[in-house]
Symmetry: none
Subunit: 414 residues, 2 copies
């Protein structure tokens, strides 16, 4: 069974937004053992949508469409699908009730256009949208399937996970996609490729190894299709782990912040943060993990130097003597935030994100990171690039990673 | 003249990477006055590439292909194009010299795989790649054009800007793309559509209006092709602005945090934040803006209630009596953070992001936001949804927006 993803929306064709929906769907569906043959984006014009459907049905069995089903005039997907499948719109009471329920929860007033969302094509299975007003429309014709769903990322995700994947699983055999991920750090992509030269040369032809670098980290993906490769996969995983050795951070696809959460939780430890150049990015990443309140207490973001002294009791003489971006200051930040917020561990960073603020001695991208656990500290200087966004993201990754590494070595209770 | 973008690469179909190349190309080409009719991604298999080419040639005049032309085994685009255009590979001395020049510059050693890059299809125009080893291949047949270029973002960008756009400009008339964006809030998408019903009814047929909703905000895009519509565009912009009136937040495509920065900067005011449920997301967004240190001083992230009392001096009795998610607590947070961090303004939020922590009285998605300027405060309760990610993002947007609105009304100096 082959799937094509179709995204409808002028905003993607003019480059106003990046199509992150398709990437998310592709990753989820692949993990579930379904094969994507193509991803197509077309604009909000009936003839372009119809041509895309014809092409897609010629190469795929299941078409997953997002977008173009809002209540406004520029959204024409529903009407176009009615024409394509030669059917009419009818009023659906269950959809109307779903809309009412959602609007009541948010205290919104129902209007005529929203009520129109309850009109659905007659010849399709209507699936309630648990997260929004536009229902999912599931068409079947000549053994092929087309599902239309909202393009709002959050609604799409709820639909794919909760409705579409379970229904596809019932109807189609999925071929097991075997995949192992490994999180690697402390090595450049090309140096890693050289390290893995022999491993790759001896990898069976039906296995593939992909490199996915991201802000100082590299995710490796070892993959093959078919359950029969399971024992070979295990063997190759072992070889890969052995070759990676010191640069291997963790197995699996979990984000760094979830790995940190696990390490803290399993050791029954709490953490706080003191951020300067990252401006809250570390705290934000840590608190994206559901249940983070079990181990995360809070942060002082001392973006301005006066906040470093007033809220974190950093010695103003240290700032004068060594500068805010220094070992001395970042170590005081780490110690004092853990004392003030009463946490076992702490992460502190101070650096120059750019584009301004760099000097000859401390150019843009200079960052100090201190991680602390009880009375132990690890303090390290990093030199990143010239892009503000890159420096914020790299610092965030390296700071969380440094804390994870410290926790990994921690075994005995204090 | 219509353009289709074709991306070749399994890594996109399995969702390992997001296709940001296409979005960048689409934005550049649109700005230069070229129309994109479709964006297609297919895998590294000859038959899929050929089918995509057939479809693309049926709806577009120019096909811009990226990817699949590296030196390694899995890259098959060049060979497939030879088959498609019925031609052979020949050795090209000028490409070989370009590769040598690049390698000498980087002190790399030339190997057999890289030398193979100098083999190019006989019946095409070869354009040197100024940033990498794989040349650009420009095919023309029956008045239609296909250009194959590298998928490495940096090399692709150099190719598009330096070679492809100038050559397309010589061969085709480009039509100016007129676009105006408007940021709207405080209204649902459907209510906005009703508000704009008359505006849309009277909009000339060659103009279009698109709605892009995102976490409590809606961006409207009014657009038309052709310079001759310039004065009509201005007229329609005026009508739209008048109709939007109170729900219009700002003109243009700037992110909310940049608008906040502008409002603070122009009034010479500083801001601090006190975050609970957003866990640093507001601070992170504010500090994404280059130069934010001119007006942003810092934050206390009081994720745990003990941090609310110890670091922000929130009265523990208020927390006991009203709960941490309450008007009383969030107002104390706002007042105390601005006093402690010595800022003119402050933003404070407290809410229940979920998935846990909700009660019957305060379900998941309940959020209090207080914004403060000198001694004035605005405090508002919001009821968002059930998704943690959505609640964090919506709260962040609404908090920044509430501060912007307060600043907009602010005229006289204190």
């Amino acid at each position: 069974m082959k799937i094509e993803i179709i995204t409808v929306g002028d905003e993607i064709l003019i480059g106003q937004i990046i199509d992150t929906n398709s990437a998310w769907m592709a990753a989820e569906l692949t993990r579930e053992g379904f094969e994507i043959v193509a991803i197509t984006t077309v604009g909000d014009q009936a003839q372009n949508i119809i041509r895309a459907l014809d092409t897609a049905f010629s190469r795929a069995d299941v078409l997953l469409m997002t977008g173009g089903i809002g209540p406004t005039k520029d959204d024409i997907t529903k009407k176009t699908l009615c024409n394509y499948f030669n059917t009419d719109l009818i009023f659906d009471e269950s959809v109307f009730q779903n809309i009412n329920r959602l609007f009541a929860h948010k205290n919104y007033k129902l209007n005529e256009l929203t009520k129109n969302q309850a009109f659905v094509p007659k010849d399709c299975t209507v699936i309630q949208n648990k997260a929004g007003t536009a229902p999912l429309l599931w068409f079947e014709q000549k053994g092929k399937i087309l599902v239309s769903m909202p393009g709002v990322p959050f609604e799409m995700k709820v639909a794919i996970t909760g409705e579409i994947i379970p229904r596809l699983r019932k109807q189609f055999l999925s071929i097991d996609y075997l995949k192992s991920s490994f999180l690697v750090s402390g090595i450049t992509e090309s140096a890693l490729a050289i390290l893995l030269e022999d491993f790759e040369a001896k990898l069976p032809g039906n296995f593939s190894l992909a490199y996915l670098p991201s802000y100082g980290l590299i995710r490796l993906r070892l993959s093959a299709w078919g359950k029969e490769n399971l024992s070979e996969m295990e063997f190759q995983e072992g070889r890969l782990r052995e070759t990676l050795h010191e640069v291997l951070v963790a197995d699996g696809d979990q984000p760094l912040e979830a790995l940190l959460g696990e390490a803290l939780r399993s050791n029954n430890l709490t953490v706080s943060t003191a951020e300067s150049c990252t401006g809250g990015s570390i705290a934000h990443r840590i608190t994206l993990v559901p249940g983070a309140s079990a181990y995360y207490k809070g942060s002082v973001i001392s973006y301005d130097n006066t906040v470093k002294t007033s809220m974190l009791d950093v010695d103003s003489k240290s700032i004068e003597t060594y500068g805010a971006v220094s070992r001395e200051v970042v170590e005081q930040m780490a110690q004092n935030v853990s004392e003030k917020l009463k946490t076992d561990c702490s992460i502190a960073v101070s650096g120059i994100a750019g584009p301004d603020g760099g000097t000859l001695e401390k150019p843009v991208g200079t960052v100090w990171i201190c991680t602390r656990m009880h009375n132990e500290t690890v303090t390290q200087k990093y030199q990143f690039g010239t892009s503000r966004e890159e420096n914020i993201n790299r610092t965030t990754n390296m700071a969380i990673l440094q804390m994870i590494k410290m926790l990994k070595k921690y075994k005995k209770p204090f």
